[in-house]
């Protein structure tokens, strides 16, 4: 490498193929980072499966005769799987990136503004897909849920896309928390969202309406609807999709605003 070629820069515009390459590279390394970080990959990919099996065996939920119960359990844990990568990957990861100067660095280099965001969202969607596929494989192997291949594909697709609103919430958390506070705050909000969505434990009659406040409830509903578990479904799929879209836009907007103000 002779030095003269270093500055042989021409002011050529970036060819489209290079721009696409940039998005792909960003996504590739987002995956590598996620996989190489066991503190992230194990909870994201394996915890839903582990909890599903644990609850299934220990509480004998797998022996329930009503197929709706098994659907309910499966969708509950699938929803949890969709919440994890977005909320923790963005919530804690992004708070640390901001604190440690990486966010500032990424804004200084000529990275297309949405490359990192899209890469992380893609990573969350694919992580969710893997986690739910693992769960579905175990469920089919154990016979704990009766699902056709088409139903499995549908529920994996629905729940994976359902990770996106939680990325948005995580991004907002990451944009307001310091790196030190982020793990605690994200965990608390994660647990509150799960509990008040009635994913696993039906809420007492009197306060049941609070499920409407948790985005996880809407995703759970969509997951149930996608495999045709009629018993637990409330309201129409359109409304649930609209709410989740609204959540995505709202928190994305809040995060953008916060970051723009911070400079």
């Amino acid at each position: 490498m002779s030095i003269t070629t270093v500055a042989s820069q021409v002011n050529a515009p970036m060819p489209t193929s290079r721009v696409i390459h940039c998005y792909v590279t960003e996504a590739k390394y987002a995956f590598l980072r996620a996989i190489r970080n066991p503190g992230f990959s194990i909870p994201t990919l394996l915890f839903p499966l582990m909890f599903y099996l644990l609850v299934g065996f220990v509480f004998r939920a797998f022996q329930a005769t009503d197929p709706n119960v098994s659907f309910f359990m499966f969708c509950g844990f699938a929803t949890m799987a969709a919440m994890t990568p977005g909320m923790f990957g963005f919530g804690i990861g992004f708070a640390l990136e901001r604190e440690q100067g990486l966010f500032r660095y990424k804004r200084a280099v000529p990275m297309p503004p949405f490359a990192a965001l899209l890469a992380s969202v893609a990573m969350s969607v694919v992580s969710t897909a893997i986690a739910v596929t693992l769960m579905a494989g175990a469920a089919l192997a154990l016979g704990s849920v009766k699902l056709s291949i088409l139903q499995v594909l549908t529920v994996v697709a629905v729940v994976s896309l359902g990770a996106i609103p939680f990325c948005s919430i995580g991004l907002w958390l990451g944009s307001i928390c310091s790196g030190r506070a982020a793990p605690a705050i994200t965990n608390v909000i994660y647990i509150v969202l799960i509990y008040f969505s009635g994913l696993f434990i039906p809420l007492p009659e009197g306060i049941r309406v609070v499920v409407l406040g948790s985005p996880a409830f809407y995703l759970d509903q969509l997951a149930l609807a996608s495999i045709g578990a009629q018993n637990f479904i409330v309201g129409s799929a359109v409304n649930h999709v609209v709410v989740l879209l609204g959540v995505t836009v709202l928190f994305l907007g809040l995060a953008t605003r916060r970051l723009a103000r911070e400079g």
Binding site: A7, Q9, C22, Y105, S236, V242
Partner: protein, 708 residues
């Protein structure tokens, strides 16, 4: 009134968005349960409540938004071309497409309808359906017909107002009310009043369809005409004060959130009504629904225009191309959508497969036909007012602002400014970080920026990289805004205190950074230049502090930047590594790269810099070559042991300061020779005489102390 081209790019995009959404909208209609009875000819076997909801959302705002933009551009055109020019242009670009388009499209659509209805009885008209007066199947070209009507109406009203004696007062009042309206939070509510009233009192109103589409008659139904006339007039008045667009830009997120909530509420109100599409509401719910619907449609309109102003104000070739093609796409899409809907209607597939297929095939075919038959032909000239020469598409990806560099880009030419700050002020809370700072970086020079902690060095670099915006003053990077991606693609950055991904290996990090640039060097080459080859496979998190700096240096240069920002590059490096980095930096400069270096090591600046800039308290207090800086501090330090009293020396001319330590007298002066002569004359026993020239270090210290 002024209209800058940036604004027009954004609004062009909004108009194209409204038209292209039409394709998305019409494609949903064969999947909507029960719609066949309302007159849509095709029903798919896979029905979708989701697409029904999608239709509802788009239908709420699409045409209102379109007519706002139509009014805006109509006013623009009227004032550019005058009344007769305006009429000629509109006849050509609205009249011809309406008449010729109808003549061509009607047989195509009728043919598709016959195909669709083959063998099945024609659907019965909905209950309570009345034939309108002057029936005429305008099809989707109704919007051109209504536009033509509105042009006539607005021109007549305008003529009337101009004739009035107090025309100017009326205009001023209209502008003032318009200004108040757009800036006030109740804008959407006020604008919704006409359409809500019209809907409420329109007896045949089927609530699910919102504003009834006026496509069946030459006399538009009252709610549609009132709604679209309101929108058109609003757009017309909006162009009189284009600064109002910035209010929409500021509030777009809030408008979007409100729009989503209100539309959801409206959808909820009608989703479970017993008779589906023919459902009517009565009494209070009817009025409430009409009001919510009207406000929602205006909130969407403001949100989308605002978002476009925010994100699409700059010309983007792809958006431009879509905007040019959208008119053609919309005019032609309906027969194709019908045909595809009919083709797939019996396929045993889920709607989530068929629907995207219809939209994408329609769009792709129409884009191809646009390219082949429209863009560079007479049709394109009629529809878009210009004909693009063939082959221009190849240049699409090239932003017009980028100018090719001269072949001899290696030359050293400090006259040519690559980056500059002009009279920049920046305040953080109560501290003034930059106070009218000026800074220029010329081509091929290495500028060292020195200054005590908190002087504003990092802020200055942050501004040049587009990380912050100045409160006052101008920042430019390659003659563009530093926020421009194209400008930053010519820049390499090494920052202080950045924690890069610890999981990634060194080669991967360099590879990732290189992907941001148009023509980077390979990771191998970058590692070779920065002597980091042996680290290639090590995870970044396992490196020592000095090794991390070297890797960051490799990342900074891997894009072959023309301008390199190095913020304290050698902190934590051992002497050998520092020497190697220095030699690479020198080679880069010889190769034509400009460098901005901040450092606390003055010998680093002394050894590398062509020019030194000293910053203190947010201002440049000195600037020049290293030698000039030394000379600038022309003072020398004279020290000796003498019996002459300090008080006397202080009174001599040219003596700046006198002090004594350990029996020695220290004199600071700009004219050392004169002072020494006088000292010797005054005290024959004087001993230990020394005269020292100030180094960069002394110069720096003195300069910054003076500033403090």
């Amino acid at each position: 009134m002024h209209d800058s081209p940036e604004r027009l790019h954004a609004l062009d995009a909004v108009r194209a968005f409204a038209l292209l959404l039409g394709i998305v909208l019409h494609a949903t209609m064969s999947f909507m349960p029960g719609l066949i009875a309302v007159g849509w000819p095709i029903a798919d076997r896979s029905q979708s409540e989701f697409l029904q909801g999608t239709f509802f959302f788009i239908h709420v705002f699409r045409m209102t938004m379109f007519f706002v933009i139509a009014g805006f551009f109509a006013h623009l055109l009227f004032h550019r071309r005058g009344a007769s020019g305006f009429i000629r242009d509109r006849l050509r670009r609205v009249g011809i497409p309406l008449v010729v388009g109808w003549l061509i499209l009607a047989p195509m659509i009728i043919a598709t309808l016959i195909w669709a209805a083959w063998g099945s009885p024609p659907p019965a008209p909905p209950p309570g359906f009345e034939k309108p007066a002057l029936p005429f199947p305008l099809m989707h070209l109704w919007f051109l017909y209504v536009l033509a009507l509105l042009y006539v109406v607005v021109l007549v009203i305008r003529q009337l107002i101009v004739k009035l004696p107090n025309a100017d007062a009326i205009r001023a009042r209209a502008d003032a009310s318009m200004g108040w309206l757009v800036r006030s939070p109740v804008a959407a509510m006020v604008l919704a009043i006409p359409v809500a009233t019209a809907l409420h009192f329109y007896q045949p109103w089927m609530v699910h369809g919102g504003i009834p589409t006026p496509d069946m008659s030459l006399i538009p139904n009252s709610p549609a005409f009132i709604a679209f006339a309101t929108a058109f007039c609003f757009g017309w008045l909006l162009h009189r004060q284009t600064t109002l667009l910035s209010s929409m830009q500021r509030g777009w997120v809030a408008y979007l959130a409100t729009a989503i909530v209100l539309t959801s509420v409206a959808l909820f109100m009608v989703s479970d009504l017993p008779s589906g599409f023919f459902a009517k509401l009565e009494g209070l719910p009817r009025l409430a629904y009409a009001v919510i619907y009207g406000i929602a449609s205006w909130c969407w309109t403001f949100a989308i225009i605002g978002a476009a102003m925010r994100y699409l104000s700059r010309e983007r070739p792809v958006v431009r191309y879509l905007a040019d093609s959208s008119y053609w796409l919309y005019l032609l899409h309906l027969p194709l959508v019908f045909a595809l809907q009919q083709l797939v209607s019996e396929w045993p597939l889920h709607w989530s497969v068929k629907y995207p297929l219809i939209v994408s095939v329609t769009t792709a075919l129409l884009l191809l036909s646009y390219r082949a038959f429209v863009r560079s032909t007479y049709i394109g000239e009629v529809l878009n007012g210009r004909r693009y020469p063939k082959g221009l598409e190849k240049g699409l990806e090239r932003p017009s602002t980028v100018v090719a560099a001269p072949a001899t880009s290696h030359s050293h030419d400090p006259q040519k400014t690559l980056a500059s700050l002009k009279a920049v002020k920046k305040r953080y809370g109560s501290t003034l970080a930059l106070d009218g700072l000026d800074l220029n970086v010329g081509k091929g020079e290495l500028v060292a920026v020195l200054g005590p902690n908190g002087a504003g060095k990092s802020t200055a670099i942050g501004l040049m990289l587009g990380l912050q915006r100045p409160d006052q003053g101008a920042v430019s990077l390659f003659d563009e805004s530093p926020e421009s991606l194209a400008a930053r693609r010519r820049v390499g950055v090494m920052m202080q205190e950045v924690a890069l991904a610890p999981e990634l290996r060194v080669r991967e990090l360099i590879d990732l950074t290189a992907s941001y640039y148009a023509a980077p060097m390979t990771a191998e080459a970058a590692m070779e230049m920065t002597h980091t080859k042996e680290l290639a496979l090590r995870p970044y998190g396992k490196l020592s502090g000095g090794q991390k700096r070297q890797v960051q240096f490799a990342m900074a240069i891997c894009g072959r930047p023309q301008l390199l920002f190095l913020d304290e590059p050698t902190v934590g490096l051992d002497i050998r590594a520092r020497e190697m980095m220095w030699s690479t930096i020198r080679e880069l400069v010889r190769g034509g790269c400009s460098i901005v270096l901040t450092t606390h090591y003055l010998e680093e600046a002394e050894s590398l810099a062509d020019r030194v800039i000293v910053v203190a308290k947010g201002r440049v207090i000195a600037s020049g070559s290293v030698d000039e800086m030394r000379a600038l501090v022309s003072r020398r330090r004279v020290s000796c042991t003498t019996s002459t009293p300090i008080a006397e020396i202080e009174r001599w001319p040219d003596v700046d300061s006198v002090s004594s330590t350990g029996g020695r007298v220290l004199i600071s002066t700009a004219r050392a020779e004169d002072v020494v002569r006088r000292l010797l004359a005054a005290d024959a026993t004087l001993s230990d005489l020394e005269v020292q020239r100030a180094g960069l270090s002394e110069a720096f210290t003195e300069l910054t102390q003076e500033a403090a």
